[in-house]
């Protein structure tokens, strides 16, 4: 990211926009083709400001073929997406410098939309203990997270045809790279999700909990929003990130945003699953879950997935076996387990 304080500043269309200059930051002493926007900014009582930054790679066309936005860091402990944004910005900067004509469309990257939570590596916005991804679509909230959520939705709506919202899993589960789609949006989103080099595309019914999320609100506003889940929070899995990164470049190419002469690399065809094809395995006991198989394994019915143990008494409380053949696409990583805690999800080969 350029050193914003040392960049030339100007006001355009209500945005406080900064543009890289030739005599700008020494570490980026050449034209990067990157425009940095602050889409929300609030002064911090202890100095400086809290800001949401958007990095824009413009199109060579006056009317871009498509406008794609990448969003990361709504939950401040989900770092896989933040790293993915770094990879995307780094790659597009190089491309802009060497092959600017490749940019037929426009790309926006929002690498850290919940900066305070990211700085303290917590899911919630720490000062307010609020979940920013439960504040979307609210008209009345007057808190800082609500205000930032509103600014983010408005800006994405104004500048995107397609949005990719990167998430890692929560504190407990590790996920294979996947896209989750609410049923009512599946016709529009499945073809796009198929371009993204995912292991799984999971179509699931809607529920009230989604109504306050970014993905749902954008899709309701007719902006195609893909919600990516990959890895686990507080960690970066470079293998998963590389897979998703290749998928995002493929998406940019297939939607015409990037026009590259060389043939696109082959990508994975995701397993498209519906709720009946997902077997959720939960703990029957409280204890420590010790897994026996790696995430991504193709398991057979009866295969040992792990066990729940009582660490105090030295007992095995239960052994966990696969209920069917399929792909292990979710696996518990955080061992402390209560009754009912999800331990694994399997994408079934056959619908029961």
């Amino acid at each position: 990211m350029p050193c914003i304080s040392r960049l030339k500043k100007r006001k355009i269309r209500g945005y406080h926009e900064t543009k890289t200059g030739k005599s700008g930051c020494p570490s980026h002493g050449r034209e990067t083709g990157l425009k940095t926007h602050k889409i929300a900014s609030r002064k911090n009582p202890l100095g400086g400001s809290i800001e949401i930054i958007k990095q824009t790679f413009s199109s060579i066309r006056s009317k871009p073929v498509k406008r794609i936005s990448f969003v990361a860091g709504l939950h401040g402990d989900e770092l896989e997406g933040v790293y993915l944004c770094h990879r995307i910005i780094e790659t597009l900067r190089q491309l802009k410098a060497t092959r600017p004509q490749a940019f037929q469309g426009e790309v926006h990257v929002y690498p850290a939309v919940n900066p305070q939570a990211l700085s303290s590596a917590t899911r919630l916005w720490p000062f307010f203990s609020m979940d920013m991804n439960r504040k979307m679509g609210e008209k009345n909230g007057d808190s800082l997270p609500s205000g930032f959520a509103r600014s983010l939705v408005e800006d994405l709506q104004a500048s995107s045809d397609i949005v990719v919202d990167f998430h890692a899993s929560n504190l407990h589960l590790k996920e294979l790279p996947q896209i989750r789609i609410i049923e009512e949006f599946d016709k529009k989103l499945i073809p796009l999700a198929a371009l993204c080099n995912m292991d799984v595309v999971w179509v699931h019914p809607s529920a009230p909990v989604f109504e306050s999320t970014l993905g749902y609100n954008l899709n309701r506003k007719k902006i195609a929003a893909l919600v990516v889940e990959t890895g686990i929070c507080l960690r970066i899995h470079q293998e998963f990130c590389e897979q998703v990164f290749q998928g995002m470049i493929h998406l940019l190419r297939q939607t015409g945003v990037l026009d590259l002469a060389d043939p696109p690399p082959k990508i994975k065809q995701p397993l498209l699953i519906h709720p009946k094809q997902v077997a959720l395995i939960q703990a029957n006991h409280a204890g420590l879950f010790i897994s026996n198989v790696p995430l991504g394994a193709h398991v057979k019915k009866g295969d040992l997935l792990g066990k729940v143990v009582d660490a105090v008494r030295g007992e095995v409380l239960e052994t966990i076996a696969s209920p069917a053949d399929g792909l292990l696409f979710t696996l518990r990583e955080q061992p402390v387990t209560y009754q009912g805690a999800p331990l694994a999800r399997i994408a079934l080969q056959e619908i029961p």
Partner: protein
């Protein structure tokens, strides 16, 4: 009677146990009042208030409160977010979930979902519901009632609590996920009482709310009294558009000069923002209209464009004619 509703084994400590206290005047009572507190682990006024009610109802059942007789059923759920209450925090750090966004829950799900489901199951036959809360993190609320779209039974409930200020809750994308939203969807006449601030016990406030809740029990029919019937309160109803939010233009240290619950005149000073670095006054805040100061920031460190106070304007209020 104390009844265990759910006991979830813990990997290392004692089981997570959800319980309710309940009292019944007859075998199949027509009226069932449910009172819930502790949805967030740091809201202690509700816990204390429910302990007062528990002591009172025990005495009623034992015949030690000569003026009162139990007719219906009262059930009190004093601590819902058990693990958060144990750690003195708003949410349980294990899942970082806002408990009041976990309804209607799932009896086969994770701990939070199971507890939420148990609350829903055990309050489903309620004829009246009350949720006890405080202001959100960083703020203090003057005692008031919060309602959605109130029907006549709910209005009657509100009228009997001894509180005059009623806020109509604005629409929210998360309303359905809250216990209150769930009760409303299931046509349970219900309201929220919000009073005080998190992490602080205000005993005098709880004492006055206790009296109101006893009156509410009489009104709902779960309790009868041989004493004089109290006069109902005249309610001041404030829709969402009657709320005036005072927003900071500067970041700094907010120093308030008025007490929450005050009736302010237009132009009256509410407080000021001072620079943490220099101590200079950056901004002064005054009431934009005549109104009731319902919420005031009590945590001084403040970002730019944050809410300092909420004033309910007299001009846009409505009255319910009782």
């Amino acid at each position: 009677m104390k009844e265990t509703l759910l006991s979830i084994p813990s990997p290392f400590g004692p089981a997570v146990t959800l319980y309710k206290n309940w009292w019944e005047g007859s075998k199949s009572p027509d009226d069932v009042l449910s009172i819930v507190s502790g949805l967030h682990g740091d809201q202690v006024n509700g816990l204390y208030l429910n302990s007062l009610l528990t002591r009172f109802l025990d005495r009623v059942v034992e015949g030690l409160e000569a003026d009162f007789k139990l007719k219906g059923r009262v059930q009190i759920f004093p601590v819902v977010n058990i693990q958060a209450a144990q750690s003195g925090s708003r949410v349980w750090s294990f899942d970082d979930l806002d408990f009041d966004l976990a309804f209607p829950g799932n009896d086969k799900g994770e701990t939070t979902e199971r507890i939420a489901r148990a609350i829903v199951t055990h309050t489903s036959d309620s004829t009246h519901g009350v949720i006890l809360k405080t202001a959100n993190h960083l703020y203090e609320d003057a005692p008031h009632i919060q309602l959605a779209d109130p029907d006549r039974p709910t209005k009657k409930m509100a009228q009997n609590l001894g509180l005059s200020v009623v806020r109509k809750l604005p629409d929210s994308t998360t309303f359905q996920l809250s216990l209150f939203g769930h009760w409303r969807e299931n046509d349970i006449p219900s309201l929220i009482i919000s009073a005080g601030e998190p992490r602080t016990l205000d005993r005098s406030l709880c004492d006055s709310l206790f009296t109101g809740l006893v009156d509410l029990m009489v009104h709902t029919g779960v309790l009868t009294t041989s004493g004089n019937k109290k006069q109902v309160a005249k309610l001041q109803i404030y829709p969402a558009n009657a709320e005036h939010n005072i927003i900071s233009s500067h970041a700094g240290l907010f120093v308030g000069e008025v007490k929450v619950g005050s009736c302010l005149r237009q132009g009256q000073k509410i407080g000021e923002m001072r620079s943490i670095d220099t101590g200079e006054t950056l901004e002064e805040y005054a009431a934009p209209v005549d109104g009731h100061l319902i919420t005031l920031r009590n945590y001084p460190v403040t970002f730019e464009k944050e809410s300092i106070a909420t004033l309910l304007s007299d001009k846009k209020q409505g009255f319910w004619p009782f």
